[in-house]
């Protein structure tokens, strides 16, 4: 939350002329562990690489902190039986493992069904759709 005035400041270090803000505001520095910079990444992470290296965030960035119910739908955080968002996106190969019923490393086995169903429900436009689209059709 920014409580700052957006005035230009300069020349402080040289003891030069800065204009003094008319009121002091509180600048929230954030905890050391907090995150204040989000870089916008290409929506299709695998534009040039093999599909096995593509990434599926679980859930996608629209989820807004929601959890994943066992049937793959998004539900409010802390809903009983729901799985939390994965800390890092799944790679294509890991998503395939999930869809086959096994659990990739780093994934809670109790949540793997929820994640697998979430991936199955992925539809066009959500992050990871194109990666998913290439995973599912039977040969």
């Amino acid at each position: 939350m920014s409580g700052t005035d957006r005035e230009e400041v300069g020349g402080e270090a040289a003891g030069g002329r800065t204009f003094v803000p008319s009121r002091r505001t509180v600048l929230v520095l954030g905890a050391a562990a907090a995150s204040t910079v989000i870089t916008v990444r290409p929506a299709l992470a695998q534009t040039a690489g093999s599909v096995l290296n593509c990434e599926i965030p679980v859930p996608g960035p629209h989820a807004g902190g929601n959890y994943i119910a066992p049937d793959g739908n998004l539900v409010p955080p802390g809903t009983q039986g729901a799985a939390p968002p994965l800390a890092r996106p799944l790679r294509g190969e890991e998503a395939k493992q999930l869809l086959r019923g096994s659990t990739p490393p780093g994934v809670n086995p109790q949540s793997s069904q929820a994640y697998a169903n979430y991936i199955r429900r992925l539809q066009s436009g959500m992050s990871g759709f194109t990666c998913y689209a290439s995973l599912q059709m039977p040969r």
Binding site: S2, T4, G10, G11, E12, A13, A32, A34, T36, V37
Partner: protein, 92 residues
């Protein structure tokens, strides 16, 4: 013990637009867009006065702002590392 000193790109290499409570930055040298919260824009503004480490930045910021909490120096160092990872500041 002085920490690493950082520098920011010149002002005209970054376009900043303030949107409710956050800022969006376009960093021309990398072509990347970043969405940032306080105190990132303020730190970038303070760095334009010249290279600084976290302690020096704290002093520059203290001239204009009050802070809450006791972790100020660590927080600023953490913010600098975030900005470095994003490519918005580099080590001097």
């Amino acid at each position: 013990m002085a920490g690493p000193r950082y520098i920011a790109d010149p002002e005209d290499s970054v376009s900043t637009v303030a949107l409710d409570g956050l800022s969006v930055l376009f960093h021309a040298p990398s072509g990347m867009t970043h969405i940032v919260a306080a105190p990132a824009p303020e730190i970038l503004a303070m760095l334009r006065a010249g290279p600084a480490d976290a302690a020096e930045l704290l002093r520059r910021l203290q001239a204009h702002y009050d802070f809450e909490g006791d972790e100020a120096a660590e927080a600023i160092q953490a913010r600098l590392e975030e900005l470095e990872a994003a490519g918005l500041v580099q080590r001097a």
